[in-house]
Structures are given as structure tokens and as C-alpha cells.
Amino acid sequence: MSPFAEYAISALLLFGGAFTLIGAFGLARLPDFYTRLHGPTKATTVGVGAIMLSSVIYFSAIGEGIGISEILITVFLLMTAPVSANMLAKAAMHIGVKAMEGTEGKPWEQ
């Protein structure tokens, strides 16, 4: 493997790991349920994307062809994340989870 590929893989792994960590940290730091929805669906998207890219580069560099399955994983993740976020938000509104103080607007009655 060329040194350039190794640097690129390491950088992407660190970047992706940092973003996933920030997403998890957001889950703990943000004040209420609705704001916490943003952490895992968001920062994680970029985190997983970067880790997927590094995996594609790794398997291309060791000569196993371009990994289509990694791209598929990312596509599935991108397709399912909004649906689960939507279901979580709907369920929270249904059982009347309170939004934090200072939230503008109101959740809908279900």
C-alpha cells in the first residue's frame, strides 16, 4: 500500500471517529428529547461516510476492487436514518414529551 493511501485512510478514520464521538457527546449534552434527535442522525451521517470512504480506499489499495458493499451500507443508512428519526419524533409527540424551555412553536397534538 502506498504511503499516500495510508495517510488518507488514517485521516478519514480519525475524522469519522471524531464526528461520531461528537454525535454521541451531543446525545448527552443537549437538553431535551427533540434536540437529542439531531445528534445521532446528523454528526453520525458524516462520521459513517468518512469511515466508509476509508474502507473503500483500503480495499482498493490492497487490490480487491472497489467495495460496492460499503457504499450500499451507507446508502441503506442514509435511507433509514430519516425514517427512524421521524418515527421517534412522532412517538414523542404522541406521548406528549415536553420540549425544553425557550422552544419556539409547539409540537402537534397527535
Binding site: L72, A81, T103, G105
Partner: protein
């Protein structure tokens, strides 16, 4: 009895078949047979859930749209990451977004896009498909959020689904 053997969603069947070939680690006789069975069975089972097909979709505009969304995901992720790390409290808001799209598939694409782009989660669609409830993590003003979504996502989608 032969109408049961049809493929009601040819594109979905094709995508399922190709996805199965990619997932099954090399094309073989077995993977082709199972791929055909899945490509037939899954559309048959889910047919009742699909909204009616759009009158006309400009599919060739889709790659450009996806690229733009990916770019926005990366750019906006940084602002959300910064917000999480900075000590100030975010200013969340529920925004009612007036929908101009009317096709169910277009609305679900828009809602998914909104959920994927950092800082916004689409929480609900009104029963008459006219309003989308969006939770914004850090809003300066409702109008700004609505305009941003309209200009970058809803307008291109309206051009696609006409």
C-alpha cells in the same frame, strides 16, 4: 393466476435484484435464483404501501440533487458539531413548513432530505399533506428556515415532479 407472476414495480424489482447480486459476494446460479424470487416477492408484498406513481419524473435531475444534499450534509454537520461543543444553549424551534409539493413520493423525499441535513428533523406531516412540522435545532427565525428549505430543496423537487 398468471397476474400473480407479474412485476408491479419493475424498477424496484431491478434494484432489488442488482442489490442482492452485490450483497451476495459474487454472481452465481443460486444468487440469481434467490434474487429473482426476492425481486418478485418484495414488490408483491409491499404493493399496497406504495403511493400511486407520479405523472412525470425528471429522473436525470436526481444525481445533481443528491450531490447537493451530500454537500449540504457535510457543510452543516460542522455547524452542528460546533454547536454541540460550544457551551451556549441552542435555540430550538418547531416550524410549520407550508408544502407546495403535492405528490406523496416527493413529500417523503423532501422530508427525508430535511431529516438528513443537520440541524433539522421533519417530525410530522399534516393529514391533508399541506404542512410539514420541522424541529430546528438552532433557529434564528422561522422565515429564514422556510426560505432556505424552499430554495435549496423544494424548488428542485418541484421541477422534478411536474
Amino acid at each position: 393466476m398468471f397476474d400473480r407472476l407479474s412485476f408491479p414495480q419493475p424498477w424496484l424489482s431491478l434494484i432489488l435484484f442488482l442489490t442482492w447480486q452485490i450483497l451476495s459476494d459474487g454472481v452465481s446460479g443460486g444468487s440469481v435464483v434467490l434474487g429473482v424470487i426476492l425481486a418478485w416477492l418484495i414488490p408483491q408484498m409491499t404493493q399496497g404501501f406504495w403511493p400511486e406513481r407520479p405523472a412525470f419524473v425528471k429522473t436525470w435531475r436526481m444525481p445533481g440533487y443528491i450531490l447537493r444534499v451530500l454537500k449540504d450534509i457535510v457543510a452543516a454537520s460542522f455547524s452542528v458539531a460546533w454547536l454541540i461543543l460550544s457551551p451556549r444553549t441552542p435555540r430550538p424551534a418547531f416550524v410549520s413548513y407550508p408544502l407546495q409539493l403535492d405528490h406523496p413520493l416527493a413529500i417523503s423525499i423532501l422530508a427525508s432530505t430535511i431529516s438528513l441535513t443537520p440541524g433539522t428533523v421533519s417530525a410530522d406531516v399534516s393529514d391533508d399533506n399541506k404542512t410539514l412540522l420541522i424541529h430546528v435545532l438552532d433557529a434564528t427565525s422561522d422565515q429564514e428556515v422556510i426560505e432556505a428549505i424552499y430554495n435549496s430543496y423544494e424548488k428542485p423537487l418541484m421541477e422534478m415532479f411536474r
